[in-house]
């Protein structure tokens, strides 16, 4: 693979996104929702109802379970531990939001080329299929990752401003770094690569986007499962998950190139 060509095509994709702000808007909107929602649940509702979040027995039980497994929780008083636990779980939303947003960009970047009949000239260039597809994946991934990181920074700052003392420190941990720095990006890349692979075989962007559900669904289940106390995903488990996603992504790079039939695209895409 030639990195310079990938960078050139990525640049082109990014310029197209820049020229079409509406394409980026869904990602920004989702991240804003993900940033605000936890504060409504953890800070807003208890203040409005006048009840502490620790009055919920189920949550008490879950937090007591998590105290032994999630670093930093054990040192906090019950109210702060509950807040810290919930804010940590809501970090998972920052994995899901960029996937949805980036997937819509990625799906359009192949299907859009088809609709504009711009893929054939691109195929006449020396770029290999893998390079073209990887450039499209990375071009969709980078803006969504940037928006995600910006959202996380704002999230942590808001937690620092509104949560009980000691809560913010639990968010800045190895676990969070693995979650946001490894699991999140590899989940995004895996979903994007799947979307790109599918989008070269379908006629509309929506069909391609649906495949992202395969990645988003397990992440949502992880969020719900942890909040409900069904299980706690430990740091080593997150590391394994990141590794599995990385391997899956690399496999999907190969698979998407294999599925990308130049001939079909040139002769049957009308």
């Amino acid at each position: 693979m030639k990195a310079d060509r990938i960078v050139v095509l990525m640049g082109k994709e990014l310029r197209e996104f820049r020229s079409s702000p509406a394409a980026i808007a869904p990602v920004i909107l989702l991240v804003v929702v993900c940033t605000v929602l936890p504060f409504v649940v953890v800070i807003g509702i208890p203040r409005m109802t006048g009840q502490s979040i620790t009055s919920d027995r189920v949550l008490q039980h879950v937090v007591s379970l998590a105290r032994g497994r999630v670093p930093g929780l054990g040192r906090l008083p019950p109210d702060a531990a509950a807040q810290a636990f919930l804010f940590q779980q809501f970090l998972l939303l920052f994995l899901v939001a960029p996937i949805f947003g980036a997937v819509s960009l990625a799906a359009y970047s192949v299907v859009g080329e088809k609709q504009g009949r711009t893929l054939e000239p691109l195929l006449t260039s020396p770029m290999s299929t893998s390079e073209i597809l990887l450039a499209k994946v990375l071009a969709s991934f980078l803006p969504s990752l940037a928006i995600e990181l910006a959202g996380v920074c704002i999230y942590v700052l808001l937690v620092g401003a509104t949560a009980l003392p000691g809560v913010t420190a639990t968010l800045v941990s190895v676990r969070s770094v693995i979650l946001l720095g490894l699991v999140g990006p590899f989940a995004s890349l895996t979903a994007l690569q799947m979307t790109i692979a599918v989008s070269s075989r379908v006629n509309d962007a929506r069909s391609a986007q649906q495949i992202a559900v395969l990645i988003v669904l397990p992440l949502v289940l992880m969020l719900i499962g942890q909040i409900a106390g069904a299980f706690i995903v430990t740091t080593p488990l997150l590391l394994l998950l990141a590794l599995a996603l990385a391997v899956t992504w690399i496999f999907l790079i190969w698979l998407s190139a294999a599925l990308f039939e130049r001939e079909t695209i040139l002769t049957r895409w009308k």
Binding site: G116, T118, P121, P126
Partner: protein
């Protein structure tokens, strides 16, 4: 860098062929598309020395001391061009899509420095052939090679880098600006001094003033020009053009034709697919008539001669003496298949160079007042209509010419030059009336 348009032949500007400052020879990393008379000109550099800024206006005005002044109409590559030309060979190539055969057992070769025209009706397989030559799709059977090398997983990228392919549809990125569209391709092809190369192309195709506009705002013709520029921005050795003048106005079509001549002059190998027979006749060294199979291939003049024979046309000032009588005189002097068209006599001569004076002398002796005499050259359109205007029979013909009945059986001969289709065409500037060159005509007396 430089770009010139027109020159010397009263087209635009003055002075033929300017080579830009700051660029040397091909060996030094610059490919120079010299200006021919009336031709567009382009210099594309491929080494670091191109990055030097050059005053384009000065370059446009000032002839470079080493500039060449080639003849745009020349049919042979310039003897001292140092361009490494590539031969394109298509051997027994068949391409099937499912049960349907789009291209069937096609064989031809395009020589270095040759402009080869692919002509045929819609669905004849022209685009499929170009795509196979460009390495976009593989043949179902047979072999396509560029300079002896076939497209494989390993060689594909390197071969494509040497080819400039203008696709059937412009396929431009509408959301990007004009110069961004070219710049992306220049960088994908690793053109050094990409910005400068893009500027040259944009100036050449008169798009420089629109460089900052989004492509979506361009007219169809401008998009076509930009697509053509994109195919040339990396200075390719083999140029494949699929309908390059579609949507272009006559002036720009002429620029494209001039450009094709320049490409040939530099020794580049060009394959152009078109419906425009006038265009292909003007620029192509050889044409391949395609209708799924290769129906015929050869120089336009050779195709005409082989299909229609070489005919002498003698134009009288008056119709006295009566044309039938003069036709009889011509027949006695050696003319065959003598036909009368208005005040013209048309005939086949077995040894034209030797027999023409004999026939003319006989006619003058018989009292004919001859205004002019010339070899008939039916337009390529007639060759096309004769070969492709009706269903193709028989086996395809390969080689340099079409040999009468082996191509079309009996449909080659007789009055089947498709009567009404010939209207409006001209032979040497004078109209071919009514039944055309081969109409049922009036024979002898």
């Amino acid at each position: 860098m430089l770009l010139t348009r027109g020159a010397g032949c009263g087209v635009r500007g003055a002075g033929c062929g300017v080579r830009g400052a700051g660029c040397g020879t091909r060996g030094a990393g610059c490919a120079v598309w010299d200006a021919g008379c009336g031709a567009a000109s382009l210099t594309v550099c491929a080494s670091a020395d191109r990055d030097a800024e050059v005053n384009t206006r000065d370059a446009l005005r000032t002839p470079h001391p080493g500039s060449r002044t080639p003849h745009a109409g020349s049919r042979t590559p310039h003897p001292d061009n140092d361009y490494h030309s590539l031969v394109v060979s298509v051997t027994n190539v068949t391409r099937r899509f499912g049960d349907r055969s789009a291209v069937d057992n096609v064989t031809f070769e395009v020589r270095p420095g040759e402009v080869f025209g692919l002509v045929g009706p819609n669905g004849a397989g022209k685009t499929t052939i170009l795509r196979m030559i460009g390495g976009l799709i593989p043949p179902s059977s047979g072999r396509v090679a560029i300079d002896g090398e076939t497209f494989t997983r390993a060689s594909g990228a390197a071969l494509r880098a040497r080819i400039g392919f203008m696709t059937e549809t412009p396929g431009l990125w509408d959301l990007l600006t004009v110069d961004e569209n070219l710049l992306v391709y220049a960088r994908l092809f690793r053109v050094r001094g990409a910005a400068l190369a893009v500027e040259r192309i944009l100036r050449l195709f008169e798009l420089w003033d629109r460089r900052a506009d989004r492509v979506a705002l361009l007219s169809k013709g401008m998009k076509q020009k930009l697509a053509l520029g994109r195919a040339l921005v990396h200075d390719p050795e083999v140029v494949l053009l699929d309908e390059p003048t579609a949507n272009l106005d006559p002036e720009m079509s002429r620029t494209v034709r001039d450009l094709l001549r320049d490409l040939r002059h530099q020794g580049r190998t060009v394959v152009v697919s078109t419906h425009n027979l006038d265009e292909v006749e003007r620029v192509a060294d050889r044409v391949g008539l395609v209708s799924r199979t290769l129906v015929a291939v050869g120089e336009p003049a050779a195709l005409r001669r082989d299909l229609f024979g070489r005919r002498l046309r003698v134009r009288m000032l008056t119709s006295y003496p009566p044309l039938p009588a003069l036709a009889a005189v011509a027949a006695r002097a050696g003319g065959q298949d003598v036909q009368i068209h208005g005040t013209d006599l048309s005939m086949v001569l077995e040894a034209p160079d030797r027999m023409t004076p004999v026939v003319i002398r006989s006619l003058v002796d018989a009292g004919a007042e001859i205004r002019e005499a010339f070899d008939e050259e039916p337009p390529l359109e007639e060759v096309y209509l004769k070969l492709l205007g009706s269903p193709v029979h028989g086996s395809p013909v390969h080689g340099s010419s079409v040999h009468g009945s082996s191509v079309h059986g009996s449909s080659v001969h007789g009055s089947s030059v498709h009567g009404s289709s010939v209207h409006g065409s001209s032979v040497h500037g004078s109209s071919v009336h009514g039944s055309g060159v081969h109409g049922s005509g009036v024979h002898g007396s």
